[in-house]
């Protein structure tokens, strides 16, 4: 408090209280106004989408929340059947694949329109692909198109300013006429139609972009993505966006399949707080949440709206193969075998996750027919299997020269990014290793991006990771661990493995699967990674929502969503 001997008093008597009252009134009025202005009428359907989308530009997005949004506002050449995941016509009403599987010819439907009234033409797809590949646009998912002839060369050869050295005409994408798009691939890509349904391969209305660029020469990157300026071609358009709150979608009236789009309006809520999302779902405020808090999973078992389904994602430990004693494949294998995976999935994660003994998750089989090899044999008796694994692990360690009567293994550190499930899992793994292998294990948690940096610098022994497939193919997993891959981060380099994958690139059919199986078997022998389990979807979906099916890709196209005939809106 100030001095009390001031000569000049400055009391304001009663008006002082009025000032405070006024202040409170202004605050209250502000709160009321803000609340009022935020008022949107109830949408036909609302779902909790997780994190705020990083962008509304399909070429700039990579995450699952962005994907869900993009599939509502953009439509690619095809869409995927919600149940079977079979490619269905999207912007392309039909397509032909050449006998050598290298040339895809898409025939675009007539009457498909952008939200600005323009017809969707083949050039729009070419423009979208060009933008995805343009190195100056720095699209993280550009590599998805590297399978197109000349695309990798176009995207990775740049001058000092970062611009492409080659013209886009060197890339195998042609538009013989307005309704025909021809894509020439470098090698057979069995999953290309899945890619064609993937948001980064959305078309681009170049005219709208150019207009924005002319109108806002300095800020067009932002201006063109504002709801009022954004031009899209999907079932819905964006009418309002409030960061960290919601994106309001309204049906696109000129969408070609408009009559089969059930919801007039959709609210896509951005909230990362899992308990909040669960509460919203439980009170009926949202009809679909993608993820629930780990703690409630056990209590959801048996609910009609809870259908965890394995999808293409692996929970695994990276092993730094450059650090002794982990540079010895026998040690790595011992570590991999001594983990009781069934304990992890039945006692910790508890959402029906399949214990994994392979790098490619078992959910791949229903999608592609590829059957991953396993690092151990599995019989009807899981207890005996594990006992055998432990015995084998102990034998391997002795063989490597460690254990009773030999060298003691040094302390091994497990890094994990801060999260309670990761910690619980690491504790069980550490217990297994301590118990069966006598290993002294230290657990270290790191914030996510720091943990990533630790991996990149190979400054770890064991580091927790997740890998989610980009496309439904074993290659999406196996390519991660090639010597050249920036995602490798284990120090693992095996010429034979790399050669097998290179060979598989150009192979087709059963031969291709065989090569991948051989590569994966090689990987499971050398084990630069220790797979633990495959993820399952953790969605809660209003049972009255039709057209939504749990699937092995956890990909959902909102255009198929509708209320059951007998289901009333809450």
């Amino acid at each position: 408090m100030g001095a009390h001997n001031g000569l000049r008093g400055r009391g304001a008597g009663k008006q002082g209280f009025f000032v405070v009252l006024l202040l409170l009134a202004v605050l209250g009025y502000g709160a009321w106004r803000v609340g009022l202005e935020a008022g949107l009428d109830q949408a036909d359907f609302t779902f909790a989408n997780g994190a705020e989308p990083t962008s509304l530009d399909p070429t700039q997005t990579t995450g699952a929340p962005e994907g869900r949004l993009m599939r509502a506002i953009f439509e690619g050449l095809c869409v995927l059947d919600p149940k079977t995941l079979a490619p269905l016509p999207g912007m392309a009403e039909r397509w032909e694949i050449s006998a050598d599987e290298l040339t895809y010819t898409f025939h675009l439907r007539s009457g498909a329109r952008w939200t600005n009234g323009d017809e969707v033409v083949a050039a729009d797809f070419k423009a979208g692909f060009a933008r995805l590949l343009d190195p100056r646009e720095a699209a993280e998912y550009a590599y998805l198109l590297y399978c197109v002839r000349g695309a990798r060369e176009y995207a990775t050869n740049v001058d000092d300013s970062g611009a492409a050295l080659r013209g886009f005409d060197t890339v195998g994408i042609r538009t013989p006429d307005a309704r025909t798009l021809v894509v020439e691939l470098e090698r057979p890509v069995p999953w290309f139609l899945y890619l064609a349904a993937y948001p980064p391969l959305a078309p681009l209305n170049q005219r709208a972009l150019d207009e924005m660029r002319a109108q806002f020469p300095n800020t067009w990157r932002i201006e063109r993505l504002r709801p009022e300026n954004l031009v899209t071609n999907g079932p819905w358009r964006v009418v309002e966006r409030r960061v960290n709150d919601r994106i309001r979608l309204a049906r696109h009236d000129q969408y070609w399949d408009r009559d089969n789009v059930a919801f007039e309006t959709i609210d896509v809520l951005a909230s990362e707080h899992l308990s909040t999302n669960l509460n919203l779902y439980l009170t009926g405020a949202v009809g679909f949440v993608n993820e629930v808090p780990a703690g409630v999973v056990p209590r959801l078992a048996g609910r009609a709206d809870w259908n965890p389904t394995p999808y293409l994602a692996t929970y695994f430990y990276r092993v730094n193969v450059t650090r002794p004693p982990l540079d010895d494949a026998r040690v790595r294998r011992a570590l991999a075998l001594a983990i009781d995976r069934r304990a992890l999935t039945s006692k910790i994660t508890r959402a029906g996750e399949p214990p994994l003994y392979s790098w490619v998750p078992s959910a791949i089989t229903p999608v592609t027919g590829y059957v991953p090899p396993a690092l151990r044999t599995t019989t009807e008796d899981p207890v005996a299997d594990y006992a055998r694994d432990v015995a084998e692990a102990q034998r391997l360690l002795r063989e490597a020269g460690y254990g009773p009567g030999a060298r003691a293994l040094r302390r091994i550190e497990i890094h994990y990014n801060t999260q309670s499930t990761n910690r619980d899992i690491a504790e069980v793994v550490a217990r297994d290793w301590k118990l069966h292998l006598g290993l002294d294990v230290k657990l270290t948690n790191q914030e996510k991006k720091v943990a990533l940096d630790t991996q990149r610098r190979l400054d770890y022994d064991i580091s927790r990771s997740t890998w989610i497939a980009d496309y439904p193919d074993p290659a999406s997993f196996l390519e991660v661990l090639t010597q050249a891959s920036a995602n490798n981060r284990t120090g693992f380099a095996d010429a034979r493995y790399d050669a097998l994958l290179a060979e598989a690139l150009t192979a087709r059919g059963a031969e291709r699967k065989r090569l991948y199986a051989e590569a994966e078997a090689r990987l499971l022998e050398l084990l630069p990674i220790i797979p633990l389990f495959g993820f399952t979807t953790t969605s809660l979906v209003d049972p009255r929502l039709a057209g939504f099916h749990p699937n092995n890709l956890d990909i959902h196209f909102p255009k198929f969503w509708r209320w059951n005939a007998d289901g009333e809106r809450r």
Binding site: H4, N5, G6, L7, G9, G11, G13
Partner: protein, 329 residues
């Protein structure tokens, strides 16, 4: 309407505490007439302030038990009065000024606000209507530039001026009785005299009865018609001020007088002081409370408490008083 402005008979105040009941005041009686000043003198802890607060009804009934045979402010019997009824009397019939003018005024409110409040409460005055009377009252107590001072705050004034404001505020509703609790103790000697003079002047104007609580015999000598001396919660001697100073009957009064420097006394004489301490609160002696410190003490004094005994025009509570008063001569 009787001439007695404040009539107190057999007032006693008890404070129940964790360690038993503390008898703060017992059997105090006095009558205060209009236009008269009665001084109550005593050391701190003698019960004089508790007496004044009890007569104002300012003791919290949760912590103090007040009993009296008679307790009248003017015609109002204020025994067992409700808080609400008391509020109509306080400030209007009986007002009070306090010892420390630096803290007795509210530093957060203007002088005018604090003063006009009295008129708003007791005379249903409007704030506007009260203003001129506030200014006049300030002028009456000798405050220069009363308009400006009324708009100002207490911290802008000296201690003497604040006490003047306190007096003006207390007398605003023209109360019958003014209790002045050590009104000059916190002030400079020169200012003390001015304040006492002011009180005297205003008393003459309004005919206010003043109960002056003080520990200073000097103040009593200057301002009071009659004086009561309190010791350990009781009045031990009561007389006209003149008689008290001329011929104190109680040994305690004598002791007090002996400890006051006198202008007419021998300047080389050592000042006497009373040996020992008054009994601690809660300690009840069977005999005279002053006995342990008394030089005239006898055995009887320690066994039996002397009642306040009336003499001509005065009273005293000591077995020796009769002899000293000359009543028996």
């Amino acid at each position: 309407m009787s001439d007695i402005a404040l009539d107190v008979l057999d007032l006693s105040v008890q404070f129940p505490t964790d360690r038993g009941i503390v008898q703060a005041v017992s059997g105090v009686s006095f009558a205060l007439h209009a236009g008269e000043t009665l001084g109550i003198v005593g050391e701190s802890g003698s019960g004089k302030s508790v007496t004044s607060l009890a007569t104002m009804g300012l003791l919290d009934p949760r912590f103090a038990h007040v009993e009296a045979a008679v307790l009248k402010v003017g015609d109002h019997d204020v025994r067992n009065l409700s808080e609400r009824a008391w509020r109509a009397i306080r400030g209007r019939e009986i007002a009070m000024i306090f010892q420390d003018p630096m803290t007795a005024l509210n530093p957060f409110l203007t002088i005018e606000r604090q003063m006009s409040e009295v008129l708003e409460l007791h005379e249903n005055a409007t704030r506007k209507g009260a203003r001129s009377r506030v200014v006049a009252a300030l002028s009456d107590v000798g405050i220069a530039d009363p308009e400006a001072r009324a708009a100002g705050y207490p911290h802008e004034m000296s201690g003497g001026m604040r006490q003047r404001v306190g007096i003006a505020m207390a007398l605003l509703a023209k109360p019958r009785v003014l209790i002045a609790d050590e009104p000059t103790t916190a002030l400079d000697v020169t200012v003390q005299a001015q304040i006492l003079e002011l009180l005297h002047k205003l008393q003459a104007q309004h005919g206010t009865a003043i109960l002056l609580i003080t520990h200073s015999l000097g103040v009593v000598a200057e301002a009071c018609n009659r004086t009561s001396v309190m010791y350990a919660g009781r009045i031990v001697e009561s007389a006209t001020t003149e008689a008290l100073f001329a011929r104190p009957l109680h040994p305690y009064t004598r002791g007090l007088l002996a400890s006051v420097p006198r202008l007419d006394g021998n300047p080389y004489r050592r000042l006497a002081s009373i040996e020992g301490q008054p009994p601690a609160p809660g300690v009840v002696l069977p005999g005279c409370a002053f006995a342990p410190r008394c030089e005239w003490r006898r055995d009887r004094c320690e066994r039996e408490r002397p009642e306040l005994e009336r003499f001509v025009g005065r009273s005293s509570a000591c077995f020796e008083s009769r002899a000293l008063s000359g009543a028996g001569e």
